[in-house]
């Protein structure tokens, strides 16, 4: 029998970088239990782990705050590489609107520091405060603020990564505009730990808006709200975000939550343009009350046993929602009406045939279906991502260059 990964790691890393065998609960990936959880604190330790994995025949799955680990089970034996001990803020330059920090820094920690200087990083993926900077880069998720502010692919100015074969790359930089060489930063953002392990990142920041208002339109059915949503997406102003929630924030019915930011006078004018005549039916929230609503919306539909992410052009939202409702007993739903991304939480396990039918319907609309969370038994019959065609072939070739040994995050992006 080959040496256990845990034993191999024990010889390589200091004791504090190794979680005991009793501490592995909570670190399962796609239902599979790792042989060890390692917490390196340096590039050298990360490289040692990768080298040991390559020679020992096991995979390495990097994890940060575990808010979005993906549903795929790694193929075969694996260890989890937690970035928790890579946690420092390296360089915050408020006058440059940039910050550089290590991968394990949480967005809560960063956010608190930025708030002191009236700045922020405008991203709101589910469970954002627990998310780490490395996780944000790896998933590339912006949440509902992406259309107004851009996504991590726009915010990340530079990255240090260790590739699957142990190369240390310092990509991009700390300046706002940079076209020196091919944009490998974009390749790394959203690559979900399949090309390299993010060690640190520098990001572009934004001034915090003076006013941050929640405007809520409620309804029993989706029809009237979809009409309001269409008005919002085609208005002459772009809100910070607009999300259709079912059930609504109060736990019943449905609601359209519009986030409007800026100077107070501008917010007032924007709300009028976004809502038109429905403005009298809407209620507004500000301050901490509004922030709580945004948090509820941010995490909506993200922790059900089965979480699906549908995507199509925003104008097709009615068709997408009807396809979703035909396919599964929807427990909760959050539709980003600006981008066309729909997150669906399902309580019961869904049947593969229904999911295949849903994917086919969304693809017929030019869209796609991704599984964000789901039981391994289900995913055995239903791949997380749909067919990728020629671009998937390019993706595989890129992966073979950056992780030639096939060590990183096996089981992911493999269909």
């Amino acid at each position: 029998m080959s040496t256990s990964a845990g034993v191999a790691m024990a010889g390589l890393l200091p004791a504090e970088a190794l979680r005991g065998p009793g501490e592995l609960e909570g670190w399962t990936v796609g239902g599979a239990r790792p042989e060890a959880v390692v917490e390196p604190s340096s590039v050298d330790e990360i490289r040692a782990v990768l080298a040991a994995a390559a020679s020992g025949g096991f995979a390495v799955v990097p994890l940060g705050g575990r808010t979005d680990p993906g549903p795929e089970s790694p193929r075969g034996r694996f260890v989890v590489l937690s970035t928790r001990r890579l946690a420092g803020v390296e360089d915050y330059q408020p006058a440059d609107l940039t910050v550089a920090a290590s991968a394990g820094a949480t967005l809560a920690t960063l956010g608190a520091m930025l708030a002191e200087r009236a700045q922020w990083l405008p991203v709101d993926p589910p469970y954002a405060p627990e998310k780490t900077l490395g996780g944000l880069v790896a998933t590339g998720s912006a949440g509902s603020l992406g259309m107004a502010y851009g996504t991590p692919r726009d915010h990340v100015l530079g990255l240090s990564v260790v590739t699957g074969d142990g190369r240390v790359l310092h990509l991009g930089g700390r300046v706002m505009k940079n076209v020196a060489g091919f944009d490998l930063v974009k390749l790394m953002v959203g690559s979900r730990g399949t090309l390299g392990i993010v060690v640190s990142a520098s990001l572009r920041l934004f001034p915090r808006p003076v006013e941050d208002r929640a405007v809520i339109l409620e309804g029993d059915g989706l029809g009237a709200l979809l009409e309001a949503a269409r008005r919002v997406t085609t208005a002459s102003v772009v809100p910070a975000s607009a999300v259709l929630l079912s059930p609504g924030p109060a736990g019943v019915g449905s609601a359209l939550l519009i986030r409007v930011q800026g100077a107070s006078a501008a917010v007032e004018a924007d709300v009028a343009k976004l809502l038109g005549r429905s403005v009298d039916m809407a209620r507004s929230q500000q301050g901490s009350e509004a922030q709580r609503t945004f948090e509820t919306a941010r995490d909506h539909a993200a922790r059900h046993p089965l979480v699906l992410r549908g995507f199509a052009l925003p104008g097709l939202l009615p068709e997408v929602l009807s396809a979703v409702h035909d396919a599964a007993p929807v427990a909760a739903l959050a539709a980003d009406v600006m981008s066309g991304r729909v997150r669906v939480g399902v309580e019961a396990s869904a049947d593969v045939v229904a999911l295949e039918r849903l994917r086919a319907r969304l693809e017929a609309l030019g869209g796609s279906l991704v599984v964000e969370r789901g039981a391994p038994e289900l995913l055995a019959g239903f791949p997380t991502y749909g067919p990728g065609g020629k671009r998937a072939a390019l993706g595989r070739a890129l992966r073979a260059r950056f992780d030639p040994g096939g060590v990183l995050s096996t089981g992911r992006f493999e269909t």
Binding site: A95, G150, V175, V189, T233, S236, G262, Y385
Partner: protein, 471 residues
């Protein structure tokens, strides 16, 4: 003179694109000898102008079989020598691919062929109350295909970001003639690798984009433009930092230095700037009308606090154009001062602007060269301009030496060697200032995936594996 292509290949190419659209006549090829950076002149073997993606793919397949290197080219306005054909290479021009394929105001996306001129898309969008945000200075003539290849910037990137933020899909032809769709309508931006983002800015080295899907924005309701006049450039740079630190997010923050002001005012493009000013700062806000006056007032107060001796404000569209005029003509105004002009391009952290400008001044003095500066101050993107006469070899050598020192100074301040003009052929020699062998090897890896035989725009961007000092 005989054509540089073999007779049968030329005949086949003409068969695909039509007889008139293969250029082999040396006189006509001269047009393609250089781009916006005239210091480099390479004559292509031929120029082929396909009229569609299918024609492009067929042309590329033929050239691939013959092992002939190819260079994509749009309007040829690039400033880094990126659109020049390598030795024995053929230029793939997009001049005939000028259709706006679809315009979807509801979903705010448009699909265009690569040869569509940036401003022409803007004209088509205006009736729908929409626009395409990236606005490089060459906007009246540059193509969207070129914008994609260079990841073009422009004055309004400060608030809106660069080209890559607005490209949602690409149809690309790879070096073997394969047509691949990257991204595109309705594809999940978080699904799998961001190949669109990787392709944008690849300077024609990964393949040629033939169709481009762009994201559109509603035209801002209001605009406020101001021109602040300072006695010194330090004051102007300090005002920029004060505006950004004060939580304002202008659509543009542009500085012209004293040398540029003098050149503009002495030219036929005179914009009415005071000739004795040390610097002028253009500040622009856009968005919902109701919030703009308050933002503008704050910016004016911050400029005055930093020593602005006058702040002019535009109240009409004509006045706004007048305030921008000097900025827009800044490059052309140097035409009367010297036969040749190098517009350098580098980005530094915004708070290092003053320090770096001083250093650039010293470098110019040391080499006996006049350096003028126009820059996107809000995002630290500098454009030092060096005037010279390329027929004077000794002067040209001094320009080369000064350029390298300017790049090194920007890198030493935490910056980079190009913010928006690209590496092309001109800046390959500077790549080792910012990247080590591992990063350059990783970039070669990425290129290999898209272009295994290395036929797409070889000799650009990445230095050869063993970097040698270029003269």
């Amino acid at each position: 003179m005989n054509s540089l292509l073999s007779g049968s290949l030329e005949q086949k190419l003409r068969g695909i694109v039509g007889g008139d659209h293969v250029i082999t006549d040396p006189g006509r090829l001269l047009v393609y000898e250089s781009d916006g950076l005239t210091a480099y002149r390479w004559l292509p073997r031929a120029v082929v102008l396909p009229g569609s993606t299918a024609e492009m793919a067929a042309v590329v397949r033929l050239l691939h079989e013959a092992g002939i290197p190819m260079t994509p080219r749009g309007a040829g306005t690039g400033l880094s020598g990126g659109a020049l054909a390598p030795e024995n290479g053929v230029i793939l021009g997009t001049a005939r691919m000028t259709r706006i394929l679809s315009l979807d105001p509801v979903n705010r996306v448009a699909r265009v062929e690569a040869g569509v001129v940036n401003n022409r898309l803007g004209d088509a969008l205006r009736p729908h109350g929409l626009y395409y945000a990236p606005d490089p200075s060459s906007q009246p003539v540059c193509t969207l295909g070129g914008n994609v290849a260079e990841n073009a910037g422009g004055p309004h990137c400060l608030k809106y970001g660069v080209t890559s933020r607005y490209i949602t899909g690409l149809t690309v032809v790879l070096s073997d003639g394969q047509v691949v769709e990257l991204g595109g309508s309705g594809s999940d931006p978080e699904g799998r690798y961001d190949l669109v983002g990787l392709f944008v800015g690849s300077e024609g080295c990964f393949g040629i984009a033939t169709e481009i899907e762009v994201r559109l924005l509603p035209l801002p309701e209001g605009v406020r433009t101001m021109l602040a006049i300072f006695t010194t450039i330090e004051e102007a740079a300090s005002a920029v930092t004060a505006i950004i630190s004060g939580g304002l997010l202008p659509a543009a923050l542009e500085i012209l230095d004293a040398a540029t002001i003098k050149a503009v005012e002495a030219s036929v493009f005179a914009a009415g700037y005071p000739k004795d000013a040390g610097a002028v700062l253009v500040v622009e806000f856009d968005g919902t009308d109701a919030g703009l006056d308050a933002d503008a007032e704050r910016a004016v107060a911050l400029c005055e606090a930093d020593g602005a001796r006058e702040v002019r404000r535009a109240t009409t569209a004509a006045e706004r154009i007048a305030l921008w005029k000097g900025r827009k003509v800044a490059f052309g105004a140097f035409g009367r001062l010297a036969p040749d002009l190098i517009v350098q391009d580098a980005t530094v952290p915004r708070t290092k602007l003053t320090e770096v400008l001083h250093r650039i001044g010293e470098i110019g003095d040391k080499h006996g060269l006049k350096v003028a500066n126009v820059f996107h101050a809000g995002d630290g993107n500098l454009h030092p301009k060096l005037t010279f006469d390329r027929r004077n070899a000794e002067q040209l050598a001094r320009v080369e030496a000064a350029s390298r020192e300017i790049m090194a100074a920007c890198v030493a301040a935490g910056g980079t060697i190009t913010g928006e003009h690209g590496v092309g052929v001109d800046k390959r020699k500077y790549m080792t200032l910012i990247y080590g062998p591992a990063e350059l090897e990783a970039m070669r890896d990425a290129k290999w995936v898209f272009d295994p035989p290395g036929l797409m725009n070889p000799g650009k961007v990445i230095p050869d594996p063993e970097p040698r000092e270029e003269p």
